[in-house]
Symmetry: D2
Subunit: 361 residues, 4 copies
Amino acid sequence: MSYNTFGHMLRVTTFGESHGPAIGCVVDGCPPGIRLTPQDIQFYLDRRRPGQSRFTTQRREPDEVKILSGVFEDDRTEGPLTTGAPICLLIDNVDQRSKDYSDIRDKFRPGHADFTYVAKYGFRDYRGGGRSSARETAARVAAGAVARKIISDVVIRGALVQMGPHRINRENWDWDQVDANPFFTPDKDAVPLFESFLDGIRKNGSSCGAVIEVVASGVPAELGAPIYGKLDQELAAAMMGINAVKGVEIGAGFAAAALSGEENGDEIRMADGKVKFLSNNAGGILGGISSGQDIIVRFAVKPTSSILIPRRTITAQGEDTDISTKGRHDPCVGIRAVPVGEAMMACVLGDHYLRHRGQMG
Amino acid sequence: MSYNTFGHMLRVTTFGESHGPAIGCVVDGCPPGIRLTPQDIQFYLDRRRPGQSRFTTQRREPDEVKILSGVFEDDRTEGPLTTGAPICLLIDNVDQRSKDYSDIRDKFRPGHADFTYVAKYGFRDYRGGGRSSARETAARVAAGAVARKIISDVVIRGALVQMGPHRINRENWDWDQVDANPFFTPDKDAVPLFESFLDGIRKNGSSCGAVIEVVASGVPAELGAPIYGKLDQELAAAMMGINAVKGVEIGAGFAAAALSGEENGDEIRMADGKVKFLSNNAGGILGGISSGQDIIVRFAVKPTSSILIPRRTITAQGEDTDISTKGRHDPCVGIRAVPVGEAMMACVLGDHYLRHRGQMG
Amino acid sequence: MSYNTFGHMLRVTTFGESHGPAIGCVVDGCPPGIRLTPQDIQFYLDRRRPGQSRFTTQRREPDEVKILSGVFEDDRTEGPLTTGAPICLLIDNVDQRSKDYSDIRDKFRPGHADFTYVAKYGFRDYRGGGRSSARETAARVAAGAVARKIISDVVIRGALVQMGPHRINRENWDWDQVDANPFFTPDKDAVPLFESFLDGIRKNGSSCGAVIEVVASGVPAELGAPIYGKLDQELAAAMMGINAVKGVEIGAGFAAAALSGEENGDEIRMADGKVKFLSNNAGGILGGISSGQDIIVRFAVKPTSSILIPRRTITAQGEDTDISTKGRHDPCVGIRAVPVGEAMMACVLGDHYLRHRGQMG
Amino acid sequence: MSYNTFGHMLRVTTFGESHGPAIGCVVDGCPPGIRLTPQDIQFYLDRRRPGQSRFTTQRREPDEVKILSGVFEDDRTEGPLTTGAPICLLIDNVDQRSKDYSDIRDKFRPGHADFTYVAKYGFRDYRGGGRSSARETAARVAAGAVARKIISDVVIRGALVQMGPHRINRENWDWDQVDANPFFTPDKDAVPLFESFLDGIRKNGSSCGAVIEVVASGVPAELGAPIYGKLDQELAAAMMGINAVKGVEIGAGFAAAALSGEENGDEIRMADGKVKFLSNNAGGILGGISSGQDIIVRFAVKPTSSILIPRRTITAQGEDTDISTKGRHDPCVGIRAVPVGEAMMACVLGDHYLRHRGQMG
């Protein structure tokens, strides 16, 4: 019953609302003896942090993480080490700007969870989206930083490959570009286009979606499990569970449906004594188990639902009305989904790494 | 650690290999007092059963289900009733045609799990694909039939909406057509095209992929949970966990990335005292919780990997070789994925129905 | 939600009723490459099998196990090997003697689950106790046989140490005696007493309880986990979950409450370069983790509730009545609990073995 | 994989070490709309809080709880209400007296988890016992306070019924006495004996054990589940998982082994149109399901392992040595186990309440 927990051997439980005192997570099952400092985690939180360019929300959150438990340091250890006990990571909410909520408290914002939360729970914490705020993803990023430590040989990188209708040119793909622009995009040539496109979106009070690709390199051919513990299945859940994600695909993904069997199945050859696949339509996963190739996941993020353009909706009392959502919102929430997607990949792989070791030794 | 189990309150555990004595499942958590006969289950198994047209594998399996436990009948009950105890459903394997496996036992078929099973487990049951055979999905369909009984007000229907590169015309959508053609397609006009396309594929010894859409109608606005129990997340896992599936999307799915915020967010109005959404880009799920609209999931099935066209591969001993996979295979395994997708939808909704009732009363 | 499943990495799901067609279990998570034959399992089932002496029920069940899945054999393996896939074990019910159930179907037998099943589920499968029959424990014994294979260095032995009010003399303890008498007792001198005591019980149409001790030797100092994965906690659950068990203790158990701190805490010394505890009040578990000493668990089994002596009860319709339970019942159901307790110990240790390996490598 | 989580629909995850910045828990699955203030929780924490008499440790911890998430209040709610989101409860560690740990860091205290933590994890957080400190139980008590709110019709009370070798006279049982003495004992006449006994123990630098009884009244006949979700099984796990507990029994418990069938099985009669059991050897649970009678659990707590009396042990480097554990310790840790046992009972019942509602409606 994992309402707020995911993972099996590496379990992440998150808590906290947008405008409560803090958000955070408990990471359980981490092996002992791993060096873990707040800085290790902060690095990834900073990548996700809002307010770093004009293209993300202007909410100012330092997102400073505290490690409350699960690490130990004395004069014999070199720095703090995980102990095998649960690691609680806490991030205080700082910039809960006081605000007049009278509008959104009684109106259901289209595209948001307002209506369904009330339908399910009877009422909702409407301050900044409450539990459904994208702020919860900071806890995922923190957990992902721990997971990366467990699978330190694996390199996990994410990139924005489509903004609104504009796809990058994959031939320009350069991982080094990803952290050199405010969009986490690997195509340098796309940057000016994205800038002007997004500036236009912002000026119109509108928003746009995005497609994110996350790649894990260096995963050995063995992680995952058949049937209901499939690596792709759990990656699909992990990514689809990120706020605003509406689609997930592995490798060739939806395009595979249009391929013939001989186009799709990745042929194999030996090369220098090693197994070499001649293509990677499988996205690095066969039968739910990693093949040793890059694991490639893409997910689609819908446009931010909070927009200035007035929309038709109803009140909690069942009256027709309009709503225009003011406030500090990401015009393209997909941008900051890049580090979140990386973190989810790390958590899923870290979990499967431990699970594999358990069953197989 | 759900290697072979899925669900939380309604838990399905499957077992069995393609060429062992039987396959089956245990459905745990079913409420008591539900009328359940083998015929209730057989109806759905028959829809998935191979050998019903020239477009599916010619393996002849009656797929006759036995209920081994969890139901009770005496002269006071009207037929067999579930008791609340685990329901074991068993399907004997009948047509395990004796065969020379010398070819595939030592060669890794491209696109199959042969390589990864050996990489992980050290060896594999190569007879008919062993555990990774699509035959395992019969157990899912059987479980889905039980799940449908739990949520009997919900109508779950699946349809093939793309075969290879050919998409149906959605304006022709007619649910009544789905069971009137061998492709489970709702577009009558697409049938001749699909027939000739698939005949060509078969003649070439090739295969093709497909896209399947599953729709659940009548789901109240309340199922699901935020964050890691999101209904869309669990549907994504359920569908991505079906053999050969490479992509999953909800509602507008990947297309949502190209929409603007005002195009995407489904506006709301009151109509006859009820909440009415003016579109359904969300696919019936907001914030992980059902909105009362139709729940719409699509998934992409890759082309069958077993094809006659010779492919480059290696042997288990690490030598380059070629393989041409003979035998009885579906040229488009996506066709028979339709009832499987329906069953997974039923299991996820049945599970969430019980979970919701637990938390909310 | 483990109604009918236990374990985490080694998961056992059982199904079946006393008078249905079969009972069985699915063992999931077993490592691959372990030699497993039906005979390996049958050995333990035969120890639990009823009808082997006049001191157990005369129901004649061969309890013959079939392995339906999860093993593979060809001309390269030496016998059948586990594959890592779920292992379904099936045991047909053979001796469901046709019987007039008119008495027990409408009366709640004192000490039985009749009343609570109806209170919870609204009705019940009253044939032979249905799901609550001790017959379910055969499935546990079968699963335990698989678990023993995983931790093949560990020796697990159970013994009856008290029958009714009569305790054995622990100074007579001889493991070799356990299988040499119909009571699984290690005290040869207690056998005549137990015989005459139990014959008297049977003649009176009464029944008696027992205390069982299960010992695991050869467990390395590392299995288990602190807090909610404590080895003793999961052993307590495993043993308390056996039908008719009313108490569980580890090591000194309840007697520890009366000891002083200096009597209770097991002192430690080095001996031949190894850690040596000078006593074992802890029962081999400290802080939830095995210490390398023998793991010692005792559990109390209440007297069989089905007795000939008439008892006051009520009907399902809420009328006072009496009941005298005829049929084939164990006068001391604790006897056959010995192999069941061993099996539960094996399953818990096997699970923790895999879990430890997962977290620690 | 519940290393630090327990429960199924009501899930409690705890974190924190004795001498870290804080301890706490996340309670997930709580229904929405329940009024929950810090004071509701503080009441129970204060009962468990150390330093309230000379008979418990003199560590001064205010144990002040903060609710970090999962509740919401505005001018329309009457006080803070649970929202259905995870509730994080945080308790700062205040009195981590700086101390010379040179002695215990390298010596394994007999009866403690020092040796096994190092055997498993390679090293340990030795400050105040780290994760294995009884301080962790404060988080359980906090969670239990939430659980009580869910099953507000159930009255859960605990009592100390044996201290060292001294049992109370059950005929003196008076629940009102429990909070009127420093031992949580219901037998007023036992208080002077316990006082002088425990004063003697303290003067000798020794410690003693205890037996605690927890009773839940008002539980309807329906909670629990057969086989592996048995209420008694989960209570056994919950109680055995409390630090220092070595035995658990339900109802007549171990004494049931010495009873005859006719003495043990609780007879039933109708009384005023209601079902009335004529005794309660079952402890309120039949077949794993509550019968409507009081649920009665007893557990044995071993003597505190930290004692002044020198004990033989070894160092982490494998040398024989002696240790005398100074510091602030409870001479009878069983006393403060009373509110902890109550909390565990509340959590298990709360969980089963939700689970029952899920399956049964």
